[in-house]
């Protein structure tokens, strides 16, 4: 398949919709994936694996609530580790979706059309995973609601100077807006599915979700305005969310955290990992369901370029961090950096550099951007690299800070791994269900693409 695309020349020059589709055929193609097509074996396998991982996730969480966070490897001084690393990583992944659907909508990027739907889904599931982590990591999770301001018998309020309180709001807003935005976009398609569904129970199901959408002109008029407004609302969140998350660290005085560069650094990193994950999903997706005509090599190439841009920003942040450590002449800062590079966790630092900086450079080459499987490999490595980067920022900074007498190490336990793997499984499971029961590509918007092409051709 890669070869076949090479024939078509440079991916960037390709159209965002290939083949000769009509309104009907394009709708058939997408809707059938949900309504007609029999379960694909790959889907079944994926489902089995992710389902079992999800079970592990549930077991791990139950044990965690029963025993306490002590089942993890966290200790003094490293009292944050996997849970927070997962949190930051998942939130980051949750960025690409809204970026693609909202940002690019406002920027009139036509190529977003065929990828925004599943990217948004990815966002929601990722943020859901992220949202779990801070609660799991609490010593007394049953009191998590004390972080939310509400009138109570104790006359107590949250402590507003703490970034953890800001998190509640930024993450909360982000997930609500993402869900609304995603759901709104779905409504016309849900109506389509309702009308095409053969069995009664499917009709009822989709009808309930379609909220009585009848495709009439007034609906569309309202829809277009509302959708645009939502996009405008969602766009700033893309920036705000990870900026706030980054403050969890920047506010702290720990060497390696206490740095003003964090907000842009984290946002760039978020989009970086977000697009990496989008690619990681898109490439197998199109292969499995034969969506090459909609998610074309052009799409992959463009996403790769965005990734390259973000990756370079991240690289720049690494450089600034190192420079500042040296330039500030702060004993603790410079020791922190030296410890990252040469300390007991040096291997993590160098793996991060390899994945996020070295591997990234391959994206300068059209050849790499043009080959889905090479892109896939790159994306996977970057996902790993970004997770390790967060681990490095959190754990490696904590394990040796100010008082040498209090220095320590962090060793993950089985339950640390279980929570990470479990969240990956749950994420995959949700996504697979989404693929099976909802259209992965927006039919209504694709029809618009067809329309535009007709007009441009005639």
């Amino acid at each position: 398949m890669a070869g076949q695309e090479q024939v078509l020349g440079a991916p960037s020059s390709q159209p965002v919709l290939r083949g000769s589709y009509t309104y009907a055929s394009i709708t058939d193609k997408i809707a059938d994936t949900v309504l007609e097509r029999p379960t694909h074996w790959a889907w079944a396998v994926g489902f089995a694996v992710s389902a079992s991982l999800t079970v592990l996730f549930i077991v791990a969480m139950s044990y965690l609530f029963a025993k306490g966070v002590g089942i993890w490897g966290i200790d003094q001084p490293v009292s944050w580790a996997f849970a927070l690393t997962n949190f930051v990583w998942w939130v980051g992944i949750g960025h690409a979706g809204t970026f693609i659907s909202a940002f690019l909508l406002l920027l009139r990027q036509r190529w977003r059309t065929s990828i925004n739907r599943f990217a948004e889904a990815m966002t929601i599931f990722a943020v859901a995973m992220a949202g779990l982590m801070p609660i799991l990591h609490l010593g007394r999770p049953w009191f998590f609601y004390w972080l939310i301001p509400y009138p109570n018998k104790m006359n107590l309020w949250p402590q507003w100077r703490s970034p953890l309180v800001w998190d509640i709001f930024s993450i909360g807003t982000y997930i609500i807006v993402s869900i609304l935005f995603w759901y709104m976009g779905l409504i016309p398609d849900l109506a389509t599915l309702r009308d095409r569904a053969a069995q009664r129970w499917k009709q009822v199901g989709y009808a309930l979700l379609a909220l009585g959408w009848r495709n009439d002109a007034r609906h569309w008029a309202r829809f277009e305005i509302a959708y645009l407004l939502m996009a405008g609302l969602a766009t700033p969140l893309v920036i705000s969310v990870h900026s706030v998350v980054s403050l969890d660290f920047a506010i702290g005085n720990t060497p390696g955290w206490h740095s003003t560069i964090f907000p842009p650094y984290f946002v760039a990193g978020a989009l970086y990992s977000g697009f990496a994950m989008a690619l990681t999903i898109a490439i197998p997706l199109r292969a499995t369901f034969g969506l090459q005509d909609f998610i074309t090599a052009r799409h992959l190439a463009v996403m790769a370029k965005v990734m390259l841009a973000c990756g370079l920003l991240v690289t720049y942040s690494y450089l600034v961090e190192s420079f500042m450590a040296f330039y500030s002449a702060d004993r603790y800062e410079s020791f922190m950096l030296l410890n990252r590079m040469t300390g007991p966790y040096a291997w993590i630092y160098w793996t991060v550099i390899f994945c996020n900086v070295i591997v990234l450079q391959t994206l300068w080459f059209e050849r790499v951007r043009g080959s889905p499987w090479m892109l896939f490999a790159v994306a996977i490595l970057i996902n790993v690299g970004m997770w390790l980067e967060r681990f490095m920022i959190i754990v490696v900074s904590l394990h040796r800070d100010f008082m040498p007498s209090a220095w320590g190490m962090f060793y993950p336990t089985f339950w640390d791994i279980a929570i990470l793997a479990g969240s990956l499984g749950a994420f995959a499971l949700l996504f697979l269900l989404f693929v099976r029961f909802l259209p992965v590509i927006s039919m209504s918007e694709m029809r618009k693409l067809v329309k535009e092409r007709r007009e441009s051709s005639s």
């Binding site: 002590g70 003094q76 009292s79 009191f143 402590q159 953890l164 005085n253």
Partner: protein, 946 residues
């Protein structure tokens, strides 16, 4: 939110059974409540039948008594909350305490409440009764009578108790053929033998450090482990006056065969193998003008000895040479002679009658016993309060010989090794449960009064002996009282008795100094200085001692001085010796010595003499509670009666396996950071003269400066006084209901101690400078922890305390990450257990923390609150010294001062005005309320080492 502790309302004396079930119910209830899913169960209030007069107010009462170690007593005041002994403080009236305590006294309450204590009389391991035992014993009395007690042997530890001694003597008068043996694993044999050599009679040396300006310690750890060490530590530091002229300060020379706190605090320390110290002693004696032929080769450079000798001689009458219990008699004798020549006798050292009632050669006494047992001459053996099956030299094979004794009785706190193999085992009453008496290092007697009725019907040795002798009076109180009636006599005995009990010391019972004249002892030929052979040195474990405290979780988890190890013992050797053998920490080796072998993990300790191993007693137990067995290795298995203290000829075979050890401090160097400061005396004098210097860090604050109008609590810690004994850590643990977490958790770095004592090595591994630094919460005025807590569980109160509100904490642990001093402790799991007897020890004024909440030093908030309420009821301010934190109270050297910074006259305020006063990590601008004074070294001008 927390597992319930005994409520004040419950009356234990009335209905223990009920109230126990009550705990569990309430605990269940509160845990359920904590999980916020059910209604709390209603509580019950059980009124007294008749209210004990003093208990009407639910305030703590303090009773004076004494706790003994190796027979030597130390005065304590025990806090009793509603009849439950919960905390031990030092007794200011007692010469061995002066208000301070060591770690053992602090941990005594835990042993008292230890659920593993022996609770029933056993006969051949089967449940029996006290009456049955009495019958069995009485039945044998006819035989004693007929044969004059032949075959009756009694084994005790070191006995200083006048009552017990009197009872034993009465018994021996009654049964002349009976035998009384004494053996305490850590005994005074060498000390007494030394005085016999020097003076021809047995004497007890007693030192006065307040008058000593040059001190030479030959393997003597007088700061940490000699009888009277708490007092000695106080006096020694009293004689250090930084800021005054060098001559006004004392200077400590130490030569030691195994690293000790004394060596760590010394101005000049040399580490030698134990056998070499004899040489040095002779070389010095010769320099001091004593007619001994100087050894050919001396393992210390001449300059060092010259300087030391010079100081000793120039400080005529103000110097002091003391020798450790490990060193052979003739070294002691040499020191006595030297002290006499230096005019120190009567000033810095005095000689009194021995404190032990029978100052016999205990090793010899034990030898006789095992010989008699082997010969089958022993019909009855009473073992009172010691554990010879575990804690005796291996070559005496006590266990094997015991089988030949038809009627053996063991009286002990635990079902230990001896209890398991004796015919009878009688649960002993804890020192806080029974009437007795004991003498301190200076002979002062204290009448020990019980704080609570024996929890498990334990008996005191007095009661057992009374039964054995068939005496009319068999009640502990009456026995002790009877003796003192005889001793003190007088018509106002009632009054004397009461005051003795109240003050914790029997008036004028301290021994007076005896006249002595020393003579040069005949010195045995020197061991050859062959440095190739590997020596082993036996020493008590710093915390479980000879094994008496192996089941005490507080002491087991308390990081040991210098090694910072918890829960296990290890073979200590110098890093160099380790390198030679390719050994690293935690490597398991087999030690071979005189045909016996023991397997043990290695710990490389900087400052340990090369080619020497330190083996610490107390571990490798096989019985004696739930946590005693299994850990560490048994050093007694290598000890022989031929060389009980140290010997050469050991061999070490690496086994290539590893045994994980839990060290509380992973990193031992300061990495050039300005944390624990040490200055030479000259610099101190200069700085003091200059007066306070402005800090090089400018105070820029975003928020207005913190104001605490009423009181401003603060603490000053004097690193010069701190000897790193960790009494503060364990005192804090007892006061603040700090849970024990266990070895695996310590390995993970999850220990909970609120005040830790950091230990740093500086310089070479062979001759490191050692720094100690107690680190409690700094109570920063700009506390980084407070900014990041999302629920305001970490907040400032109006008096400048940084308080942690457990019931508000949700456990994000952000505060801990943001604490640059890492003094916060987190309950990663449910650490505080809900064992009824342990709950009974808990301090009712401190919340017991549950799983998932952060905790830390509160400056003993509960004590501040109590003082505040008391003062406000009287409409006055809290006086300076009215609030004493637990760590401060326990500290033998008064290194910790706490008080109100708003009071210009308060000791803490004055301490902080010193130009040397500094805070940790000042550059972070956290404005700590806890500040430090640097350690001061007073080196001899000719010896510039570090």
């Amino acid at each position: 939110m927390s597992p319930r502790q005994p409520r004040r309302e419950f009356d234990f004396s009335g209905v223990p059974e009920r109230s126990r079930r009550e705990f569990l119910k309430l605990m269940g209830a509160s845990i359920a409540l904590a999980s916020g899913c059910s209604r709390e169960l209603p509580e019950r209030i059980v009124p007294y039948e008749d209210m004990p007069e003093q208990l009407a107010a639910t305030k703590s009462l303090y009773f004076a008594t004494a706790l003994s170690l190796d027979g030597y007593g130390s005065g304590v005041l025990v806090e009793s909350a509603m009849g439950r002994p919960i905390k031990v403080e030092g007794n200011p009236n007692h010469p061995a305490s002066l208000g301070a305590t060591d770690v053992f006294s602090q941990a005594a309450v835990l042993t008292l409440w230890d659920p593993d204590r022996s609770q029933t009389v056993l006969r051949q391991g089967v449940l029996s009764t006290w009456d049955a035992f009495r019958a069995a014993l009485t039945a044998r009395r006819s035989r004693f009578a007929s044969q004059g007690g032949a075959g009756l042997h009694i084994l005790t530890g070191s006995v200083t108790s006048p009552t017990l001694a009197a009872q034993l003597h009465r018994l021996l008068d009654k049964y002349p053929e009976a035998r009384w043996h004494q053996y305490q694993p850590i005994n005074r044999d060498n000390v007494y033998a030394g005085t016999r050599l020097a003076f021809g009679e047995t004497r007890e040396p007693r030192y006065d450090f307040t008058r000593a300006r040059t001190v030479l310690s030959l393997d003597a750890d007088f700061l940490r482990s000699m009888p009277g060490h708490v007092r000695y530590a106080r006096d020694f530091n009293g004689a250090r006056r930084p800021g005054e002229t060098p001559s006004a300060n004392n200077r400590l020379y130490a030569i030691e065969s195994s690293p000790t706190l004394t060596g760590a605090k010394a101005d000049h320390c040399r580490r030698l193998r134990a056998s070499q110290i004899d040489r040095v002693a002779r070389a010095l004696a010769q320099r001091l003008g004593i007619a001994v032929e100087s050894p050919t080769s001396v393992p210390i450079e001449a300059g060092w000895l010259d300087a030391c000798a010079f100081d000793l001689l120039t400080r005529h009458g103000e110097s002091l040479i003391l020798v450790g219990e490990r060193q052979p008699a003739h070294v002691h004798a040499l020191a006595h002679l030297a002290n006499e020549r230096l005019g120190n006798v009567g000033t810095t050292v005095q000689y009194t009658n021995p404190v032990l009632a029978e100052p016999i050669d205990q090793l010899d006494s034990l030898r006789q016993l095992s010989a008699a047992m082997a010969a089958g001459e022993v019909q009855e053996l009473l073992i009172l309060g010691v554990n010879p099956l575990y804690a005796t030299p291996a070559d005496l094979e006590f266990a094997r010989h015991l089988q030949r004794v038809p009627f053996s009785v063991h009286l002990g706190l635990y079902r230990d090794e001896t209890a398991m193999r004796s015919l009878w085992h009688i649960p002993a009453a804890h020192e806080l449960e029974a009437w007795s008496d004991t003498r301190a290092y200076d002979g002062s007697a204290t009448i020990q009064q019980p704080l609570i009725a024996p929890l498990y019907g334990g008996r005191s040795p007095h009661e057992v002996l009374a039964v054995l002798a068939g005496e009319f009076e068999q009640d502990g109180h009456a026995i002790v009282r009877a003796l003192w009636q005889g001793e003190l006599g007088g018509d106002d005995f009632e009054h004397t008795w009461k005051t003795s009990l109240h003050n914790g010391v029997v008036p004028d019972s301290a021994f007076t100094a005896e006249q002595v004249t020393a003579r040069l002892p005949a010195l045995p030929p020197l061991r050859d200085a062959d440095s190739s052979e590997l020596e082993i040195v036996f020493s008590p474990d710093p915390h479980v001692h000879d094994g008496v405290y192996t089941n005490n979780a507080w002491l087991r988890e308390l990081p040991k001085p210098l090694t910072e190890l918890t829960w296990d013992n290890a073979v200590l050797m110098s890093p160099e010796s380790g390198r030679r053998r390719g050994l690293a920490n935690e490597d398991v080796v087999e030690i071979e010595y005189r045909g016996r072998r023991v397997r043990a993990p290695v710990w490389l300790l900087p400052g340990h003499p090369d080619e020497s191993l330190t083996l610490q007693f107390g571990y490798g137990r096989t019985a004696g509670g739930r946590i005693a067995p299994g850990a560490g290795f048994n050093a007694y298995a290598l000890q022989t009666s031929a060389a009980p203290s140290f010997d050469g000829g050991a061999r070490v075979h690496p086994l290539g396996t590893r045994y994980p050890l839990a060290s509380a401090q992973m990193h031992n160097r300061m990495e050039g950071r300005d944390l624990a400061r040490m200055l030479p005396l000259s610099a101190v004098i200069q700085r003091t003269a200059q007066g306070a210097q402005p800090s090089k860090h400018e105070r820029k604050l975003l928020y207005p400066p913190f104001a605490s109008p009423t009181y401003a609590w603060g603490m000053s810690i004097n690193l010069d006084a701190c000897i790193g004994c960790k009494a503060c850590t364990i005192a804090c643990q007892a006061e603040n209901n700090i849970p024990v977490v266990g070895k695996d958790q310590v390995q993970r770095g999850r220990e909970m101690h609120w005040i830790r004592v950091d230990r740093y090595f500086e310089g070479s591994d062979a001759h490191p400078r050692v720094h100690f630094q107690p680190v409690p919460c700094m109570h920063c005025e700009r506390a980084p922890c407070e900014v990041v807590c999302p629920v305001e569980a970490s907040v400032h109160d109006s008096e400048g305390l940084n308080v942690q509100v457990y019931n508000r904490c949700v456990g994000t642990r952000f505060c801990s990450n943001n604490c640059p001093y890492k003094v916060r402790r987190f309950n990663f799991l449910q650490y505080s257990q809900d064992v009824p007897s342990l709950n009974a020890q808990r301090n009712p004024d401190v919340t017991v923390r549950m799983r998932g909440v952060m905790e830390k030093c509160s400056y003993c908030l509960q004590r501040i609150a109590a003082a505040k309420i008391a003062s406000e009821k009287e409409g006055r301010r809290i006086r300076d010294g009215e609030v004493v934190t637990a760590c401060q109270a326990a500290c033998p050297t008064e290194a910790i001062v706490f008080g109100d910074l708003n009071d210009p006259a308060s000791r803490v305020r004055i301490a902080k005005t010193s130009p040397l006063d500094y805070v940790l990590l000042e550059e972070l601008n956290t404005l700590p309320r806890t500040s430090y004074l640097p350690a001061v070294e007073n080196p001899h001008p000719d010896l510039q080492e570090t």
